[in-house]
């Protein structure tokens, strides 16, 4: 009896292993057959990308320009873009469309504003009329700081029409990420006109800034709302180690700088604690750091196998990373397009189901930013344009903790 059960268990285990290995191999062959097209190039440090309903793209350059790019790569410079404070990590940052763009033509921009000793992460809204912005209006400013790094600056609309904005902690002000009276190291939630939603979590907390949605962030440059689940994901740079992807809940504390898996660039500890009671643990963290930029949850028919997986634009290690999410847990990771030699700044899912990546510093060249369209090659062997991606399945244990 017992040997029979052992045999049955063995056969079941073999079947599971076979199915699992076939799935993994299918994923890897998919990665190897990606078709990569350069939609636009020679961009100067492109940062944000948003699709218009007609398929054209708005693309920001950190150096201050906003372009409208069509599917042939023709670009139109948008006029009357508010000037940004362009220095180090500062400049023109993200762009998103109002959920009702088709009726109001309204767009939102984030940018660094001010001067070296006194600058903010600013959000403006404007109406896009042809190739010009009109009715430009400042709707939010973070607390001023005196460094030109760690702005955050990603924007995303929630399904209820409110806008989330990531705000970095300005590096030298890292402890301010824990203070509720300061808008540094926070994700804030505002209405589309900049007013404060009545159900924000700290509205009734004495002394707290009413726009704060979550706190304890370092430099969140990735923000995405899963259109299917409404779940909010944010990616933030750690220092030396401790890059994170978090699932953002209203009112939650994400730990920085009290709880972190990273240490300082100097080799000193940021904090004695990697975890701390009452502070959220990341969904995924990377030690050593990879440098995560923008993120997106893949939803679409083109890569049905990746449905619900997280795509992370990786700046430091220069690739696009797929985080295989099962039941909200990271069960494996895959490195894609490392052969491009580019810093991946942002990733978006296009209306056609293709993946669009904003990359910069291609082979360390200046003004070498590109918009890449990543699609599924019809026939990998016969497709000259397909880029044989370096695909590397990584075990969760080697790259992430929890």
């Amino acid at each position: 009896m017992v040997p029979q059960r052992v045999c049955q268990a063995f056969i079941v285990a073999c079947c599971i292993g076979l199915v699992g290995s076939q799935a993994a191999s299918a994923d890897q062959s998919l990665a190897a057959s990606l078709r990569v097209e350069v939609v636009a190039d020679q961009l100067d440090t492109p940062w944000g990308l948003a699709f218009l309903p007609d398929g054209r793209m708005l693309v920001t350059e950190r150096t201050g320009a906003l372009y409208l790019i069509d599917d042939r790569g023709q670009r139109t410079l948008i006029k009357n873009v508010p000037p940004a404070f362009v220095k180090l990590q500062g400049g023109l940052l993200d762009v998103v469309l109002h959920p009702a763009f088709e009726t109001n033509s309204m767009i939102y921009l984030s940018l660094a504003h001010g001067r070296q000793k006194h600058n903010t992460t600013r959000v403006v809204r404007a109406v896009l009329e042809g190739d010009t912005l009109t009715n430009v209006e400042v709707i939010f400013d973070s607390t001023p700081k005196g460094t030109s790094v760690h702005y955050g600056g990603r924007l995303a609309f929630l399904p209820d029409g409110t806008l989330l904005v990531t705000i970095g902690e300005g590096a030298d002000y890292r402890e301010q990420a824990q203070r509720l009276d300061v808008v540094l190291g926070k994700i804030v939630r505002i209405n589309d006109d900049g007013t404060i939603p009545e159900d924000n979590p700290f509205l009734s907390t004495p002394g707290a800034h009413p726009a704060i949605w979550s706190y304890g962030h370092r430099n969140p440059q990735g923000l995405h709302v899963d259109p299917q689940t409404g779940r909010v994901y944010a990616a933030e740079h750690g220092p030396k180690g401790g890059d994170e992807v978090n699932v953002i809940e209203p009112g939650a504390n994400y730990g920085w700088p009290i709880a972190t898996h990273g240490i300082d660039y100097s080799g000193a500890r940021i904090s004695p604690f990697e975890t701390y009671p009452g502070m959220q643990e990341p969904l995924v963290y990377w030690t050593p750091s990879i440098g995560p930029g923008g993120i997106a949850v893949y939803r679409g028919a083109m890569f049905a196998e990746w449905d619900g997986d997280l795509l992370v634009a990786v700046l430091g290690h220069r690739h696009l990373r797929r985080v295989d999410l099962e039941d909200g847990r990271d069960v494996g990771q895959e490195i894609l397009l490392q052969d491009r030699g580019a810093r991946f700044r942002e990733v978006e899912i296009g209306p056609d189901g293709a993946i669009y990546a904003v990359v910069e510093s291609v082979n360390e060249r200046e003004k070498s930013g590109q918009i890449l369209r990543i699609s599924r090659a019809l026939s990998p062997a016969s497709d000259g344009d397909s880029s044989p991606s370096e695909s590397e399945a990584l075990s969760q244990a080697s790259v992430s903790g929890p």
Binding site: E175, Q178, I258, S266, G267, A268, R269, P272
Partner: protein, 165 residues
């Protein structure tokens, strides 16, 4: 070079290494303390054991190495430039009756100046405090004080050796 001069040079070298190590350890103590005080101010509950563990980690993490950008390495490099300059100035000051009073302050001043320059140059390079424990006026002054203590120790060890020799 005769044996006495060689002995004196070796003693000076020994004094330099000990002074630089002492300055580095004191600087790290201030560094760790400053960071932990800031964390406590925003709600972190830090025990003595946490503090000791963090200090020991920091001593190891920033220690002098072949990597010249390490804080410990920079202190060694800074002292290696500052102390010979102080020695020359000291020699000049001893020759003049009016300037003799300044001689005992020169090594501590050199140590403090070396660390001040490290902090200023690193800030100019990165445009943020590369050494977070030196943030703010008090944080920077504490680091300079560690440099001054290193310079003072160097002066004492050198003086004792001069007396012995």
């Amino acid at each position: 070079m005769d044996a006495d001069r060689m002995r004196l040079l070796l003693r000076a070298l020994m004094a330099f290494v000990l002074a630089a190590i002492a300055a580095y350890v004191i600087a790290t103590l201030f560094f760790t303390s400053a960071n932990l005080i800031r964390l406590s101010a925003v709600g972190a509950e830090i025990t003595v054991a946490d503090a000791v563990r963090t200090f020991l980690f920091d001593v190891r993490g920033m220690a002098p190495s072949l990597l010249w950008t390490q804080y410990g390495s920079l202190i060694f490099i800074g002292f290696a430039i500052a102390f010979p300059v102080a020695a020359v100035l000291r020699r000049f000051s001893m020759r003049s009756e009016a300037a003799r009073w300044i001689a005992p302050t020169l090594y501590p001043l050199a140590g403090a100046t070396a660390i001040a320059l490290i902090l200023i140059l690193s800030y100019q390079t990165y445009e943020v405090f590369a050494f977070a424990g030196a943030r703010g006026v008090l944080g920077s002054l504490a680091q300079c004080l560690a440099g001054a203590v290193g310079g003072y120790l160097f002066q004492i060890m050198l003086a004792r050796k001069e007396v012995r020799s």
